[in-house]
Assembly symmetry: C2
């Protein structure tokens, strides 16, 4: 049984704060602080260029990819770190379209994260082969699969509502229609059990600054099923994806396996912080995390519905259809969230009217949940959100 009191002690949580925004940026793991200081002092500072060999910087994207792989049910050698989720999504979708040359449709849903849709459109425009994006409602995805679909590109957990797609079922349906799948695990990795291999997923990508607590702008990951990787000619063919980067050959030959999805020189600071953040998962069962997330989410929904009837639950009521967040609708959600944050309960807001609360059992307990609901009730009752300063929209919401 996972010891959640222990995992909570691994994070720095500011005094007086209940942090319900780990679905956007996880808190600082204490180990990351130490690991980054060591990177600067003992590695970059003392080893200088030798750090690429001696401190293992060059292998970090593959080594950390293996650590992530274990959390998402990926076979060894199928995950590598680098770049951002948007870049990795681009590579995955480009590869999927290459593998289905006779088909012209990318299928997604309008709950997908905008960057995925933007990157897909940019790719389709660049390659200029007449691809079209078919965007449907989340619940209409399966019915929209047909013989024209090259790739089904979905985010497993909706970033606004928390609605959870059936990865195994939709992957099977996509394959039955002859399409490949590209799964975005931004809100899934570290939040719930994922089994890419048994689901038969073809490609997957994700970020590591949400439930994996890697820090602001932490590097992304990409998964390519081993049955496809040797046929992938990476669209972004950088030198570190080359078979022999240090031969400095002008002919591009993709590296063995997943290594070919690497592009340029990776951020070693970002990888070091992430590597330390992943230590929090040692001895942790993702099934336990999921069970605890459901328990805390149910408690949060119950408390909020009892105390704040003005809020409407947007997330699916059934826990099996939900990721690890609870989203509530409120017309004045934006100023309400600003007022709530000022009172030490941090969630976030997504237009037009959705307040999101991330439930991360590694560092949240039932005391936090009850306290958050209590503050929400107070702020709502006092109408303290209804002040001009809370309506001022910030650059980042």
């Amino acid at each position: 049984m996972t010891d959640f009191a222990r995992t909570k002690s691994l994070f720095h949580l500011p005094e007086g704060i209940v942090y319900l925004d780990g679905n956007s940026l996880g808190p600082l793991p204490l180990a990351a602080r130490d690991r980054v200081a060591r990177l600067l002092d003992e590695e970059w500072g003392e080893m200088l260029i030798r750090g690429w060999n001696e401190a293992g910087w060059m292998d970090a994207p593959a080594r950390i990819g293996e650590r992530i792989g274990r959390l998402i049910g990926a076979a060894p050698g199928t995950v590598v770190m680098g770049d951002t989720l948007s870049i990795k999504l681009y590579q995955a979708l480009a590869a999927a379209l290459d593998l289905r040359p006779g088909r012209r449709v990318v299928l997604s849903d309008h709950g997908n994260f905008p960057s995925d849709i933007h990157m897909a459109k940019g790719l389709m425009r660049s390659i200029g082969r007449g691809h079209e994006l078919r965007l449907v409602a989340p619940e209409a995805v399966a019915d929209a699969l047909d013989e024209n679909v090259a790739a089904l590109m979905l985010t497993e957990v909706d970033y606004r509502t928390g609605r959870l797609h059936d990865m195994a079922g939709l992957t099977q349906a996509a394959h039955a229609a002859g399409a490949l799948t590209v799964w975005d695990l931004a809100h899934s990795a570290g939040a719930l059990p994922i089994d890419l291999e048994s689901a038969g997923a073809d490609f997957a990508v994700g970020c590591t600054y949400k439930f994996l607590n890697g820090g602001p702008g932490a590097p992304a990951f990409i998964y390519v099923a081993s049955r496809h990787i040797e046929r992938v000619q990476p669209a972004l063919s950088g030198w570190l994806g080359h078979e022999a980067p240090f031969a400095f050959d002008l002919d591009y030959r993709p590296g063995p396996g997943i290594a070919r999805m690497r592009v340029g020189t990776p951020t070693i600071l970002g990888l070091a912080a992430l590597d330390a953040a992943l230590d929090a998962w040692d001895g942790v069962s993702i099934e336990d995390v999921r069970a605890r997330s459901v328990e805390l989410s149910e408690m949060f929904i119950g408390e909020v519905e009892r105390r704040c009837p003005a809020f409407e639950l947007v997330s699916p009521r059934c826990a099996n259809e939900r990721g690890s967040q609870v989203t509530l609708r409120f017309a004045d959600g934006y100023p309400f969230m600003q007022a709530l944050i000022e009172r030490g309960v941090i969630g976030d807001f997504r237009p037009p009217d959705m307040m999101r609360f991330g439930i991360a059992p590694l560092y949240l307990d039932s005391g936090d949940i009850v306290r958050a609901a209590g503050v929400m009730e107070d702020v709502l009752g006092e109408r303290s959100w209804d002040r001009p300063q809370y309506r001022q929209v910030k650059a980042v919401t």
Copy 2:
């Protein structure tokens, strides 16, 4: 007059080391250590998600881009940070080809860095419009410009030989032929005066871990001339390049100006270290740096030629035709460099037989140069490099 004793004091240089590999990875600026610790403790740790607004994380790519812009002669609002050099090069070249739709040749030289060539080939393959890469000798570039050339893509300073291209002259020649230019400043930024605006450069990209000392895998930059930027439809159209990222609109509308070249969530740890590293340039004249680099390089060449006649100078003898490195040819260059590093003089090796020595006046003085040459003479005389352990090739060379 720049105070180089002061700038040297801003870096951590390990005891007993002469560091001549700052053209590959600059040393640790003491300020970066403090800045990153503050980012972790006071920003990520205490502000959590609020850091994006309150600590200015969201604006860091533009703000730091302005700082880089001043070092490369770029007008305000034309430089932004993000991703890696390979990704930024891809964006720049894709934009250049879009702006010259009737032309099908990308011209480069075979001294260009392999990743640039690989990325260009990957782009041409992806867009599938029949582009070809014309690779010529560095000295044959001007003559190879013709009415078919869409983009002239060059690295200003050759990563192996240190040969310096005439940016202004070649840009003028490219424009006369109707082509656009994409300059890679990897070995130029922070090494010598660059004036993108007077040269009339169209696009430029660079990394920041070499002469700008931003740390391993520090973020890259991209420059787009202001006359082009509003016509650029980014090939990698990520959410942070959107006009209004936090509107979460599924329609992509490029952001104003250079902001549209942003892609995904940037590495805040990497940006923080770089930001601090750039402090070393406050009060520094790049013309002084160049004059001092030439002086130290001439001294190094003179000392080495006197003490080590077995080495052949590969870099141009004329300082005006050289970047800020000296490259020497030696058949046993690989084991020699390993033995030299073991004796505390750090340079690097590029196949088949080139030993590179970076000259970075911010933290190198004439004492370092003389000492390095003395150790080189000793190692050569003792033939101590001629041992099996030095011939073992490491992953990263």
